[in-house]
Symmetry: C2
Subunit: 216 residues, 2 copies
């Protein structure tokens, strides 16, 4: 989902989203104010209100940006030829790297889903939440399809497809709960973390060790 | 951790904790008030303040009760003789059943940890949070030890022990995010869900399918 903006202000918008994502990650939705974001931005509230009508508006834009980045990450692999298992592995690795590299945004996606599960309070929130959930569902459908195909090709073994999907996502999403960047960390270091998550998830879903492994 | 109470009021205390756990689960810590809990309890705020000085106090008592139940669940297996893998499997299944059956309490444990990660705000919160985190750490140490022993006995294969522990707990804890009781559900139904989580986690950690499976 993209936000239509006047020409030239794209960069300013992304700076607001980036800073807002970090504020929401650190304090949570309920305890973050537009004031907090403006302060961190070293800016006025007016600059934020130029783009966003409310805190809810800003929050959903952050979460949607997170989902945009996930879609962009897995896009190149969605129609790859070959075994479903190879496609699934590439998608899973790209997804997990997106969790690590866009952690602040992904925490807002996660919190949005949690708010949804609790029952949203205002009608405006409800509509935005419904859109976010639908967006996220269309994303997880890509994985659901890959899981199903890999099972049909005999490379995965699991009982209930819905539970398998939940377990896989919890494992792949787990860095948003425990990862924090280290000084001097490289892309290879992050890849190494992501590979451990993917290997865990694929083995967990019944992939043979040789297929789930990352020695490629 | 137990709360010292006047004789005879134990039952009333547990009723408050049970209702508070559901309120915190549904609305989250920030948006739940003592008023909400009293209303749901069909009682006065005084009844709650008789036991708890503040909302923070009540919240931590709920989370600690959740951890108490986890310790009680795995207790019978901690010193079992035999292979570490069998002990780990029993502990994992008991833990996952506790997630399902005490879901409301476990959501408070989870939220407490999330608040901790964000940085607690008041000194009182900080102390209680530190105690909760220490309590939870001493619990996860039991699993850490079992993982290590099972790896040394050749039944598990994983790279980084810290990441393995995180991934295992995310999988076993996952029902607190996706489980909700169904009408007419039996203990066997819940056991079936828990077994799928445990099988996923143990296979993910490199256990041979026959060992991770639940056909015992």
């Amino acid at each position: 989902m993209s936000i239509s903006t006047p020409r030239g202000s794209e960069e300013g918008l992304h700076e607001i989203l980036r800073v807002a994502a970090h504020c929401f990650m650190e304090r949570g939705y309920a305890e973050t104010s537009i004031d907090d974001v403006a302060r961190r931005l070293g800016s006025t509230k007016g600059r934020i209100y130029h783009f966003f009508a409310s805190k809810a508006d800003l929050f959903f834009a952050v979460a949607e940006e997170g989902m945009d980045r996930n879609f962009a990450a897995i896009g190149p692999y969605l129609d790859a030829a070959g075994r479903a298992m190879d496609r699934l592995k590439s998608m899973a690795l790209a997804h997990t790297m997106s969790m690590i590299e866009n952690r602040a945004y992904q925490r807002s996606v996660w919190e949005g889903v949690a708010i949804h599960l609790r029952g949203a309070t205002t009608p405006e929130q409800r509509d935005r939440l419904a859109a976010l959930i639908a967006y996220r569902d269309s994303y997880s459908d890509r994985f659901r399809a890959a899981l199903k195909a890999a099972k049909e090709e005999g490379d995965l073994q699991f009982k209930d497809a819905g539970i398998a999907l939940q377990l896989m996502f919890l494992a792949l999403n787990s860095p948003i709960f425990w990862y924090s960047p280290r000084h001097g960390e490289t892309v290879e270091d992050r890849l190494n973390l992501a590979q451990q998550c993917v290997e865990f998830a694929l083995r967990g879903l019944g992939a043979p060790a040789a297929m789930a492994g990352m020695t490629m």
